[in-house]
Amino acid sequence: MREHDVELFNRAQAQDEHALELLYDRYEKLLFSFSFRMTKNKFLAEEVVQDVFTKIWSRQRNFDESKGKFSSWLLTVTRNATIDMLRKKKETPYELDERDALHDLGPSTEEQIEWKERSEQVREAVGQLTGDQQEIIELFYFKGMSQSKIAESCEIPLGTVKGRVRLALKHLRNKLSQVNERGGQDDV
């Protein structure tokens, strides 16, 4: 029987190596790909994944079930670790050659199947946003920039950054629910 994420997480925190490995297998590719999406750098992405699992293993991060899904929490921890890593490196990391980086999404775990479905929907929804909205989401969410950096990059007043970020994200949410609805009806 498939154990719940939270059960594996708790066992991993109780120093159960097997549980840690199961949890690792379940999320390695998603966390690695997400961190790579942010850093464009395989070595940093690997460091981030190691950092995340170290935090789990050494009980530096605790998951509170009342605050949402384990996977969302794990992705937040990964994103924060990635932003930390980017800040430590200071430099903008180089881009890897596309041919080295991109591979087919070969779904094998339940998480990866969910990922594949969501991935297409989210990308379609993002594609429907204006260029400015896409840019601000990129800078805010994937580059993890500070408000002042975003203001500088987009050449907009500091005071307007928050409003624009929220607006772009809300547009994304609307587009996404349209995509979802259509997907549900067409049932492709």
Partner: protein, 262 residues
Amino acid sequence: MMSNTCDLLLDYFNNQLTKEQEEEFELHLLECEECQEELAELQQLTEDLPYSSEAIDPPSGMKQRVLSNVINGTNTPETEPEPEKQEQEKVTSINEWNEPSRSKKKSWYKPLIAAVLTLSLIGNGAALIYLSNDEETSPTTKPEETEPSLDTIQKMLSLSPSEGVNAEATAMMIEQNNKTNLVIQASDLPELEGEETYQVWVLEDGKPYRAGTFVSNANGNGAVSYLMNYQGKHQFDTIAITKEPNANSQKPKGDILLSSPI
């Protein structure tokens, strides 16, 4: 109405605050309902975004490396990470070569020195090199503005290609904080396939020691900076580059492509 503290919300979400600011904001969060709601909203609105990432295959051996590092107690993060230990064993790749067409011989080592310096300033021995294009070079990384006196070049060598090989490579040993950094730059490298990597070795009486792993970019260029940190005293006599089936070879498996006596 927004107080100044409310304005920190985005930067809090993006992990951009100092420790003090973060604590201040967390205290504020306890009593500001507006911020609580906005934070929850941000979390909810961004929840789907990670899934838009393209799936990338993790590098070979990553699981083993990560799990053994996690379990075998490199368990003191949050404090200063242990430099050099595991980070030097990394494959380096570059994308854009710095102005390869003109005055290559003269200019190539500048960005490398800058890279080595940057690494030492970060206090982190990761063997990663960031080569920036001239236009993009920010003031902090301009080679001219770094301290040239920090490092001394001990040796510069040109590696000779083996028969039938067309590649070129240069090795430089830079002394840095009483340690030696080996910087390799290579061009016209044959293309790699699959998990293959280029491996640098230093040899002492025929015994090889790993000295940096890298991959070439689409133009056949590659570079790596490696901190030579071996147990005991060594008198290396040869430096060589081989093509290996993957990044894990402890002994050379491929033929020597380039080499030079030290």
